[in-house]
Symmetry: C2
Subunit: 439 residues, 2 copies
């Protein structure tokens, strides 16, 4: 895990937020490579679950909402953790996690009784800071999909079953944090609220659970590092009839990556009651009204990003390239799926002190840039440059050498096989495009 954290910082995937000020616990910024990787994950999700589905539409709701939303949803009452404090050193713990920990800074065992602490960040709308102006930062994106149920269904003329999808920033004022970015106070969730006829919910649950797992496998996560965890009836959230977590085998153990919940008609019924609006769906075929059930597949984008870094991280002792020099080194390669790798192609001149090679490489760079996220590099030996790209998962490296000047072709190196083939410059974009699409 330390190696991943170090790589993430050194190569521009993840930085501590406000690091020059000592950071803020559990807040992380995504650097140039991390933000591209995040975007690629989001786009893969949107492609699969919005563009390629017939009946799932996207929305983008606000973080701040009318506070009645959180009353109706049960978050004001139930979205709490039992908070315990050490009377001596004032360290804070979640009661349910205390068994696993010591009171670390002081050895004292005198603790306050647990109080229910709401994990929603609080703020005030308008200039008056009193109870009537309080609202909250959303801890998930689901609620705006429920409050917009009618707006979406009517404006898009949708028939049940249909889904509303959203990726959005969410906030939780976590008491205990840790494991790098795993438990962050600010994160992006991708979720779908899939509305079905009551009675069809259980079957639909299973379908979405499989869909979700296929998505992870399609991005390259190893099957043996994923498992299901079925929540016990007694530990289900207040809205849920059934919840299954999809866990990933992180370096510190199995932990939640994603989940599917059967939220029944809980949310729509609650909002109908609290808002006094009719949130029934009118079924044209039967002429009957009903409140749909909801199957909710959900996934933490940053957790998936972390799992992908862990899963694709590989070290080869003695060097992948088997040169004498490399024999003493440990070479790192991120075997990220080509689809989501942040940089697709790196372009190099063989050496930087030959102006004609530099010129040729820059021309190739200009040629490829409109098609792919590219990077140009001329610093250090060609071997080091390949290894620098392997370490950040760049699937292809293009090198302009002396033959390029004569024959108008370049070498195209594959990250995983390390094989190089010569490709005519005029065919290069097309060849890379095909290779990216196939894998």
């Amino acid at each position: 895990m330390q190696k991943i954290i170090s790589l993430a910082k050194r190569r521009g995937f993840v930085f501590p937020s406000s690091e020059i000020y000592g950071g803020v616990e559990a807040l992380w910024d995504y650097g140039p490579l991390g933000s591209l990787l995040k975007n690629n994950i989001k786009n893969a999700w949107l492609d699969r679950f919005v563009q390629k589905k017939d009946n799932v539409v996207l929305i983008e709701g606000t973080v701040l909402m009318n506070p009645s939303v959180w009353k109706a949803s049960g978050h004001l009452k139930h979205f709490t953790d039992p908070l315990i404090e050490c009377k001596k050193c004032h360290s804070r713990f979640r009661e349910d996690q205390l068994a696993k920990k010591e009171c670390p800074q002081c050895g004292n065992k005198e603790l306050t009784p647990a109080r229910q602490f709401n994990l929603m960040f609080k703020t005030f709308l308008g200039p008056v800071e009193d109870a009537s102006h309080v609202t909250y930062l959303r801890p998930e994106t689901a609620q705006s999909m429920f409050t917009n149920f009618k707006n979406v269904q009517e404006s898009m003329r949708l028939k049940v079953p249909f889904g509303i999808a959203q990726i959005g920033r969410s906030f939780r004022n976590e008491i205990t944090t840790g494991n790098f970015t795993f438990r962050s106070r600010e994160f992006d969730i991708a979720e779908i609220e899939y509305f079905v006829k009551p009675g069809e919910d259980e079957k639909c649950f299973d379908v979405w659970l499989e869909e979700w797992e296929k998505f992870f496998l399609g991005l390259g996560l190893k099957k043996e590092n994923l498992r299901r965890y079925e929540h016990l009836k007694k530990s289900l959230a207040h809205y849920s009839k059934r919840t299954v977590d999809i866990e990933y085998k992180f370096p510190w153990g199995w932990a939640e990556l994603a989940g599917v919940a059967n939220r029944t008609d809980f949310d729509l019924s609650q909002h109908a009651k609290e808002s006094r609006q009719d949130l029934n769906y009118f079924d044209e075929e039967t002429g009957k009204k009903y409140i749909p059930y909801v199957i909710e597949p959900t996934l933490g984008i940053e957790r998936l990003l972390l799992a992908l870094l862990v899963d694709s991280y590989d070290e080869v002792k003695g060097g992948r390239t088997k040169t004498t020099k490399a024999a003493k080194e440990v070479e790192t390669v991120l075997k990220l799926s080509k689809k989501i790798a942040p940089i697709k192609v790196a372009v190099f001149p063989l050496v930087k002190n030959k102006p004609e090679l530099v010129k040729a490489a820059k021309q190739v760079f200009e040629l490829l840039k409109p098609h792919f996220m590219c990077l140009y590099d001329e610093v250090d030996s060609i071997g080091r440059r390949y290894r620098r790209q392997d370490e950040i998962g760049t699937p292809f490296a293009v090198t302009c050498d002396f033959e390029t000047l004569e024959k108008n072709d370049v070498t195209l190196r594959d990250r995983d096989t390390m094989k190089q083939e010569r490709i005519k410059i005029e065919d290069l974009a097309e060849v890379i495009k095909n290779k990216l699409n196939v894998s």
Copy 2:
């Protein structure tokens, strides 16, 4: 404007946030078409300013930061509006906007003296709500690009001049709101902090101002609806040496869409002082250290979206189609640039009561879906379906008719010319791809 608002609501572009609870002032959710349009605008921006630029990299910072950031940046002190309240009806106004308004609800003229109200939303990190745990929701994304200046420059081995780009959610507790989504409390900003050598800042400013305008024109905004507004020296923000707004001619008048500011070395110097970190850039060529100047082009994504809706909205009285029936109607067409239109292709069977046409149309829909955001529609007459797509700016409509069954071709209708051509189904995806790329 009322027509745009009505269209936006009815067709799923924009809904009031938490509408079933009466909404929240100045908070807006983006529906299925609005969220796709937003994504397309963001992707066009990322393509142009990150992928196609050699020396601009992306980051994604957190909304919540260490509160010292806002002390150093001057936001705690300066990011305020003068707030005035009517002593009778308690309506609140910005002092500088009061001249334009009456005290509307009561006619009373007795007002409180102005007090400086900070527009940053306040919240608390951790369970204790006292001054030492206060932090703020960022009102812009710029600061995380300054606090990460060193992290980004070093991890990506960048040389000045280079830029850091970000699109991110920002929050402002506005006193006065209005004009639909124009002044929202929550919005996405796209900005670039472009770091240059002091002395090169003025020239660079002009280059970015032009780049920014070209982007808007490239998305289809009409030239005559854009103008520059040069801020007077005395009204510049505390960090700025020069600011030019790019204004758009909205239905209520010219208003700020975007801007370019010369922030000098203000931010990096302030953060260096406050954090006691060395934020100098070391210039390898001259062997000298300096704090770079910063040129900041910035743009509100939702304002651009609103401008694009307004700019592309067109009504044709008497009907675009010139049929007898249409002669009495007003037909609406959103002439959005094909690049950013939310739905690219609509697929129809000529009529819905011929199963073989429905089947053919659904096959074509399945064929196109992997390539484009598509929509299938079989309800109402073909003319009405075309008009429904015109109204949301869909560039192409494909219809399967009786000839389709014999000749394996379809009609492809262009939104703007309304011309239809017959295309073989096997060529359809490629033909549409080319048409989308050319325009």
